[in-house]
Symmetry: C2
Amino acid sequence: MTNNQFKRGELYSFITGKASTAIARRLQKKFNTANLNLTIEQWSVLYHLWKQDGISQQELCNASYRDKPSITRLVDNLEKLQLVKRVSSESDRRMNLIYLTGRAQKLQDQTMELANETLLEALEGVSPDRIDVCREVLQIVYDNLK
Amino acid sequence: MTNNQFKRGELYSFITGKASTAIARRLQKKFNTANLNLTIEQWSVLYHLWKQDGISQQELCNASYRDKPSITRLVDNLEKLQLVKRVSSESDRRMNLIYLTGRAQKLQDQTMELANETLLEALEGVSPDRIDVCREVLQIVYDNLK
DNA sequence: TTTGGATAGTTGTATAAACAACTATATGAC
DNA sequence: GTCATATAGTTGTTTATACAACTATCCAAA
């Protein structure tokens, strides 16, 4: 490594996302324990639909930083689980609008509670101002690279 | 969400690892542009072997936070690319010791330089002390959950 | 009105992660 | 020494991501 500005472990951790992987695994375990039969990736799609129902697959791509094939297949699987429904748009027949089913609406409170619980466990012992710094840095990183 | 301690975006970003995903994607693009024909995951295995060559698959599991099947298949693919070789341990025939090939040794400087460059781009405009806070928080998160 | 480019979504293929079930080898209690 | 148990690694299956190639639809310029 010609430039030694970063310590080895720091470089590795930043690139591999050790911390966020650990958070996702913990939340997945909580989902499994609660017999929700839902992946974190599926949950992250529902997350955007809970904010705004009936958006297109392309809007889900933008919101979740995934490419179109990824969303196609996530929606496929969510449809199999009867959590969403594809509805062809009246105004533009190229688009599918994705709607939550009643089943999915019922999942919101429970899963958000588990996600919140996971974050509380993850950030235990970290002061709010340090969390703020961390959040801001990660936002800058994302903005720098997107 | 019954507990409103976390802002929505914060919750989502922490759990989905938006920032580290962006870093990994940027580094992958640099690998592709340089025609390295190497995935970030494969690189992360080589990373540990550059630190210490000839360790077992189990040790690679521990170092890289992956389960055994994941390492089996990553080593499979690295072997196909002729970047590592499995050598059955003399003292314990259950173990495979993984050794870098000459080809893999030659990749170290170039890829570490690209990784370092990626981090510099990612952290542009962030002061060193804020990077430190972020690194410490992420380490605590990992320790809290592992 | 035709046509060419842009946009929305799908499909194919390769790589990877998680989990369960499996084989082979080592080790310790008896 | 034998056997139960633990450890190292592999294989099968499902889900997800990335990239390329594809279809269908829309729209705007000629």
